[in-house]
Structure formats: C-alpha cells, structure tokens
Amino acid sequence: MTAVPLRARLRPGGIGARHLVLAARIVGIAALTAFALTTPGFTSALSVNALLNAISFIGCVAVGMTFITLTGNIMSLCLGATVSASALIFLASLAFGVLPAFLLALGFGIVVTAAQGLLIGYFRANPILVSIAGLSLLIGGAAFATGGQRIYPGGAGLLMFKGRVAGVPVEALYFFATVIVGQFILSWTRIGRVMVMVGSNIRAAHAVGISTAAAIAVAYVIAGACAAVSGVLLAARYGSGDMELGAGYDYAAIAAVLVGGTAIQGGSGSVIRTLIGVTVIAMIEVVLLLRGFSEQLQFLITGLIVLGVIMLHTIGEKR
C-alpha cells in the first residue's frame, strides 16, 4: 500500500500554504537582519563596502537574468561570458575615450543577447541550448580576437566607473540605478506588462495579439545591457580583463533570482525581489565570514540556505 505523497498533504498553492510561506519569509528576513546586526563588525565601513561590492557586480547580471526568467525562458548560461566579453571590448576601446568605449561595450552586450532573443522569440528555439551555443561562440570569438592575452587598458579616465561618490562605491550606485530602471520598466511600461504576460502564458499572449517574439527579444536585450554594465564596472575595478572575469556569474545570478522569489516558470516576480535575493545571499556570506566560519563552511551553508529558500518559495506556488 503506497502512501499519499507529501505534496498532496501540503497542497501547494492553497491559501494556507501561501500565508505560511509569507510568514516564513518575513520571519526569515527578520532573523537574518537580527543575526547580521548582532555580528561584530557588520556595520563597520569595511564590511558594508564588502557587502556593496559583492552585490553590485553580480546584482547587475541578476537584474538582467530576472527578465529572462520572467519571460519564461528559465535562465541563460551565457551572461557571464557576455560580462567578460563586454569588459574586453570596453578595455580595448578606451583609446576612443571612456564614454564611446562604454557605449561600444553596451552595444556589444545588446547585440549578442538580442540575436539570441530573436532566435528564441521568433522560432521558439530552446533558450538553454541557444545560450550554450552563445557561450561557445563567445569564448571562441574572444580567444580569436585577443589571442588569449589579457587586455590592458589604453588610456586613462576610468574614474567614471570606479571610486566613490559621497563615500558610496560607484559600482553600488550603478547597480541601484539598474534596479530602479529595471523595476520601472517592469511595473510601469507596457512592454514590462507584456513580458510578464508572455512568461505567464505565451499561447494566451499570442492569442491576444501580443508580439511574443518582440517581448522575448526585449527581455534578452535588457539582460545584455545589464551584463555589459557589470562588465564595464569590473573592467574599471580591476584595470584589466580576460574571459574569466564573469565566470560563474550565471549560477550566482539565477540563485539570486530564485532566492528573491521569482518563479522559475516565469510570469511572476520582480526586480525588487531579485535585489532582495542578491542582498540576502551577500549578507549571509559576509556574516559567515565575519563570524569566523571557514571559507568551506561558508560555501556549504550558503548552498544549503539557497536550497531551503527555493524550496520554501515553491511550496507557496502551484507547479
């Protein structure tokens, strides 16, 4: 005799489950904040800076990833490489001036992801497959263009993208600007609403007359722009770049998106949630560091918490 599966008992999506999850989220964040504030050194300038740094670079990419996930395309495995490649383009073009270099890098990021977005939107090609193809092409293309060498900047004037303004790291300002712009697009523009509808039910969106291909392409363009911004910030910070710069960013970004509570199937979520997700993960890492946990344990505990939070979110929603 087989047992009734746990899922039937929990009745995901039921009113009770949703309230339970909301309560758990509030309690969790409150507990984390309390834990953090009682950690010696957390509020020191040094650790706040470390926190802001940690969230800025990955956070930009996570904002872009949010749009990809929201439109129902799960994730992209190519954004990290886009970060690196944009950084390379930026560094290599500094000879033309800082602003033109920035625009070139931005343009590059947009073109790379727009191409993917069009294939995925117009032909409904599989998003993960296309991103893996893009990844290979980017890595190969970059190796071809740079001959495997690190790029060092030609020219000066990177101050626009590094340093501080009023004591706050510039990267953090750019990140918060990205968050504000991203959330504005999502909540207040027509294309933002359309993207959510496409992620919620692409066939229904098509039947209502929405151009689903355009919506998906725009989502990818936003992701590319965000990745390019992150790349430029990284290039300015480190002064040189290669394709390792953005390695692993895809997983960190999607973790932030999921921890924030955006649904992996699309149609539900927001940029603010991703901001919360990025902050929560970074806070956990900083707190563990300050409390003297070894680097290994930090990684493990972070991984377990990410897993737990993702499980918690999904219980509050139907599959």
């Binding site: 599966p5 495995l77 599989n126 190969g140 973790a255 999921l258 993702i310 499980m311």
Partner: protein, 336 residues
Amino acid sequence: MTRAARYLLTPAVRPFTIMAATIVVLSLMDRGTGYFFSVGTVFSVMQLFATLGLVALGLGLTLLVREFDLSVASMVGLAGAIAVMTGGADPWIGVALGVCAGVVSGTLQGLIMTQLGLSSVGVTLGGLLTLQGITYVLTGNATVSYPNMAVALGLNAPIAGLLSVRSAAALAVFLLAGLVMTYTHVGRDIIATGSDRRASRIAGLNTDAVVVGVFAASGACAALAGVLLSYSLGAASPVALADVLAPAAAAAIVGGVSVVGGRGSAMGIAAGVLTLCILRSGLGAIGVPPYVHDLVTGGILLVIAILDAPDLMRRVTAWRLDHAERRDAALKGKSS
C-alpha cells in the same frame, strides 16, 4: 531536400550523421599527414570520452524526462574527493563510496522534486552549491593527492593502443545503458515520462519513481566519472568543474536528446560525446588553434537549436504562403 538527406537529419539518426561528417571533414583537413587519423588521436579522444561521456549520459537521462540536473558539475568533484580520500588502500572502496554518494545525492534531489512538486532547476541549483560546499569542507580547500600510483597509472595505460581502463569502463556503462533503454520497459517508461508525464501517470505509471531513478542514475554516472578522473590524475581538486556542464549538455543535445524530453537514446548520446571529443582532439592534432573548437561547437549547437525549434516550420510555412499570396495578388492587380 532528397529523401536520403532527410533521413540522415531525423533526430534519431542525426547524431551519427554529425559524427561521420566531423570525421570526414577533419580527415580532409588533415591532408594525409596522418596527425588526425592515428592511433594516438583515437586514444586521446577516448580519454576525453571517459569523463565527458559519463557526465553527458547522466545529464542526458535527466533531459529525457524533461528535467535538468545542474548538480552533476559539482558531483564530479565531490565523488573524486571522496574516492581519493578513502581509496588509498583499496581503490574499490573509493569507487563504491563515490558512486554511493552520487546515488544518494540524486535520490535526495529527486525525492525533493517529486514529493514537493518542485522544478529541477531550483533544486539542482541548490544541490550544485551544496555539493560544492561539501567538497570544500572535505578537502579543506586544498588539493588532496592520491597515494596509490599503481592505480593511477594503470587506469590510463593503453589497451591495444586505443582504449584505457577508464574509457573501456565508460564504454561498458554506455553499452549497459543502451541495452536497458532498448530492451526493457525502463527505457520505455523514461521516454513516456518525458514525452507526457501527466498522461503516463494517468495510465498507471509511477512517474515519481522514474524521475527519482533517473536522478539517482545521473548522480551515479557523474560520480563514476569523477572517481575515475581523480584516480587517474592522482589528485582531487576542490575546484568545481563548472565547465563540464555546458559541454555535457551540448554533447547530449548533439546526441539527439530533445531538451523538452521524450526523445533520445544512449547510443545517440555516445555519438554526440564522440563528436565533441573528436573535434577537440582532432583539431588539436591537426594544429588548428583551440578557439576553432569552441566556434565550431557553438555553430553546430546553433544549427541544431534552429532545426529543432518548434516554430521553425510554422514561420517558414506562413512566410511562404504570405509570399505566394502577395505574388498572386500582384499578378491579379497587373492583369486587371
């Protein structure tokens, strides 16, 4: 398009066509110098196959049921670490414990997914990070060396010049998988679950058991790959092989596995893996710079992504009909 060409491009046959085409092209590029068509090349291809193949097999099985096991990347490292740390005296203990870890990890993740109704991306992402963390803890964030040199050398010793113990083991696993998938109802159940899970469940299939089993197998395959790799390198490193995931997924897809489930075979995956390994080794043997490998792989994947795109035919048909109608209307306009 001729009927023969269409047959060669059907998803079941396509992996072998691509593999054959790759061999042909590389042989032509070789121009008779014998660098490509040599025993040494085959050996190095099979050495790559030994690791990538097993991971791609496990990942491919999860793709078949319409899921995606992100955690294979760190399972390779973790199993390697476990084996190296416990298999000094008796290598088989290391193998057993490593593969066990893979089975346990896959089963746990599968149970979480099926019992709580969660999507595999979230769960296996958490699994990826957690397994990575466990690897760090176990190895103390340092490279652990494997004392048993005899085993390390023995695993890589060439057999008849073409294979090693490692690649032979991988081939054996593929053969077993292929037989099980084709001749037993396990294969049919996996395809059914991937093809239409709801319908299979109503028909009476225990789809939860199928999914859990597939993830256990995926964990075991990745673990075996990690064990053999670490043994043969004589060391286990805590660095996550994050760059094993994309090639493994690419190999499975070139091997004919459909990303939306319900289509694929073990032998097809083998062909896909071989194609990528042949590209990597072959291009190197001929003396082409390594970036060509990435570009060619990316190109092949892009073509497959477009060919398999569900709306490709819709768009092409609609465009063709629009074009025809506009042309007719123009003709009618001219004549009237």
